[in-house]
Structures are given as structure tokens and as C-alpha cells.
Point group: C2
């Protein structure tokens, strides 16, 4: 039975407030499973060794806005005067080839993606408490007082909006949080919509 | 943070054709996690050491039909002249206490339960092929030729109706199938609807 070959890829969206430990969890997931990151478009200039089509697709502002107005982005946002967006066509091609994709976007982008890519699955990672989050942000030593206050206010807002996600994971114990993230990914891949030929393949 | 205490229980429905290996998988799941089986009502007479309220709630036909007509069953069916049904009220009380429940019912019962208990999660276990299923059924040596033919026809029908389940698991390799069932259970427990006070508990 060649049921694996006919799989559709899973779009997996992982959101978390800054300091919740998302990067560590995502690194463990991509070390265990074959998941491609979606490459975003941006109007900001390349930095350092960034290559077009690898870290980002670098577009002029004019091109970005034209493509946005044609509905070519699964989600987009303007941040500090630069535009960022997830192009839908490469995502659809990837998924059609049966390759799972990971989206590293914020809650606002995730909300847009839920409309443009309805088969996507959404998981939100929470800190055990805002106090713990504050301790972690201070422990990093990279943010000033104002930046920490802003991150905490954003975290509270995002957490209170997380009710529409498919799963909530509290990152208190890292191993348990990873077990839950892994379970969510494995379980999401079992959905019949990603395995459209399975029943017929089994029944012969 | 006492977020665990405010969990709602998960209703988990596992369906599979006879011979797909459901019992082995369910036994592994209940050995690892605390899951209660739903106790059904029936109009058939107790057998052997069966106790009322443990294996079944034993009801008269009259009482069963009265309760059925009052909408007290999450799902019900008549099988060989006897009635069987899952009473909704004890299920709701169990779930409200945060205890997860396992439902061992057929696809028709599952379809009813999807309407009466909309938060339930449904997983379907498939054999790798109908040929393998036939070999397994013959290997048991418990069914005659007619019974095997009937089981295979039912299996084909159920598999072709499995598209509405939340997850499909092919039981080819038992360890992989268990990893998937476990993942589905763990992931299903992460849904925000089962953790209604989590966001507020985190935000303080």
C-alpha cells in the first residue's frame, strides 16, 4: 500500500509570546521531523548574508503592494514601515507535494492564515504565568524596561485571544511541553483531509 | 497555578472494524492514562457475573424506550432485538469533573454522538488492507465463513464512511499505531474548550 505518497502536507502554525520558549520547542520538532519553514516576502533590505528566496523573498514596496492587492499573500502585515507577507502559491505547491510546513508568525498573521489556508492547524504556547515570563525576559538581559513592559502587555493580549487555537501548551516543564507539541503535530497529520486516498487504498 | 483542576474531561471515541486491533491499542492507552469507560444501558439480561452499573445499566424495555424518547441517550441502537444506549447525564457529570471518557461504540453510534456531544473527538483505526484484515479474522479461528464475509463487508462500509473522523490510524506497525493514538489523545486534551480558565489563570 503506497498511502504515504498520496498524503497532503500539513500547514502547522505555532504562536507564542516572546519568551515563552517557542524557538527551543520548534528546534526540537524540526530535529525529529521533516518540516519546512515557510519563506516570507519582505520590503526591508537584506541584512548581512541573507539570500533572496532563503531567509526572505526581497521585494520592492511597489511589487509587494501589487501582489498584496491581487490577494497573493496568505497573511501580511506592516511592521515599523516595512511590509512582510507569506506568499500563498509556494505554500500550496509545497503542501500538494505532501510536505509539511511550519509558519512562524504572530497571532494577527495566524488569524489571517486561518481564513486563507483553512486546513492549517494552530497551536499556542503559553508561559506558566506572566510573572515567569517577566523573569525569563529579564534573565535574557537583552531588553530595556520599556521593551519588557511592551512585551508583557503584548503577551497578555495574545494569551487572551488564544481561545480560537486548536491547542494550548503551557511551557512549564520543557519535556512535557515538547511531548504535547509533538503529539499535536503527529495527531494533526492523521486528519482524513490530508489522506484523501487512504480509505480507497485500504479497501482495494 | 492550578490550571489542571479546572480542566473539562475529554470524550474520546475510538472506532474500528472487528480485527483492526482496537482492543490492544485501547488497553495500552488505558494502561498509560486515566480514562474511564462510558457505561451503557441495555435491555438484555445480565450474563454471568455482570453487575448493574459496572458492565451495563440493566433496564427494562419499557424504561429504556421512555428514556430514549425523553432524549436521555447520547446514542442508542437496537441489536438483535435488544436495545443499547449511552446515557448522557452520567457522561456530562464525568466530563464536568474533568475526567476523560472513552466510548467503545460503532460508527453509527459515533455519528449520533457527534451530534449529542459535539466536543467529542473521533479516531478511526484501519487495517493496512482488507486482505490483512481477512487474514487476521481467519487467524483467530473464531468465526465461520459467513461471519467473516459479513465482518469484511461491514469493515469496507465503515472504512468508506470514516472521512468525517478527526483522525485515521493505520494499524500496520503496532508501536507506530499506538504512538499515533497516544498523540491524538494527548493533543485532543490541549483544546481550549477543555481548559476554559487557562488563559485567565496565566494572566493572573
Amino acid at each position: 500500500m503506497n498511502t504515504q505518497e498520496s498524503r497532503r502536507g500539513l500547514p502547522l502554525v505555532i504562536c507564542a509570546p516572546s519568551g515563552a520558549g517557542k524557538t527551543t520547542l520548534v528546534n526540537r520538532l524540526t530535529a525529529e521531523f521533516s518540516l519546512d519553514f515557510s519563506v516570507s516576502c519582505t520590503t526591508r533590505a537584506p541584512r548581512g548574508a541573507e539570500r533572496d528566496g532563503v531567509e526572505y523573498f526581497f521585494l520592492s514596496r511597489e511589487t509587494f503592494l501589487e501582489r498584496r492587492d491581487r490577494g497573493e499573500f496568505a497573511e501580511w502585515a506592516e511592521v515599523h514601515g516595512n511590509f512582510y507577507g507569506t506568499p500563498l502559491q509556494p505554500v500550496r505547491e509545497h503542501l500538494a507535494e505532501g510536505r509539511d510546513m511550519l509558519f512562524d508568525i504572530d497571532v494577527q498573521g495566524a488569524a489571517q492564515l486561518a481564513l486563507t489556508l483553512p486546513e492549517a492547524r494552530f497551536v499556542f504556547i503559553l508561559p506558566p504565568s506572566l510573572e515567569v515570563l517577566e523573569q525569563r525576559l529579564r534573565g535574557r538581559g537583552t531588553d530595556g524596561e520599556d521593551a519588557i513592559r511592551l512585551r508583557l502587555a503584548n503577551a497578555r493580549k495574545e494569551i487572551m485571544e488564544s481561545h480560537w487555537f486548536h491547542a494550548l501548551i503551557v511551557n512549564d516543564d520543557l519535556d512535557q511541553a515538547y511531548d504535547e507539541l509533538r503529539a499535536f503535530y503527529v495527531a494533526s497529520r492523521l486528519h482524513p483531509s490530508l489522506r484523501p486516498r487512504l480509505a480507497r487504498a485500504v479497501c482495494g
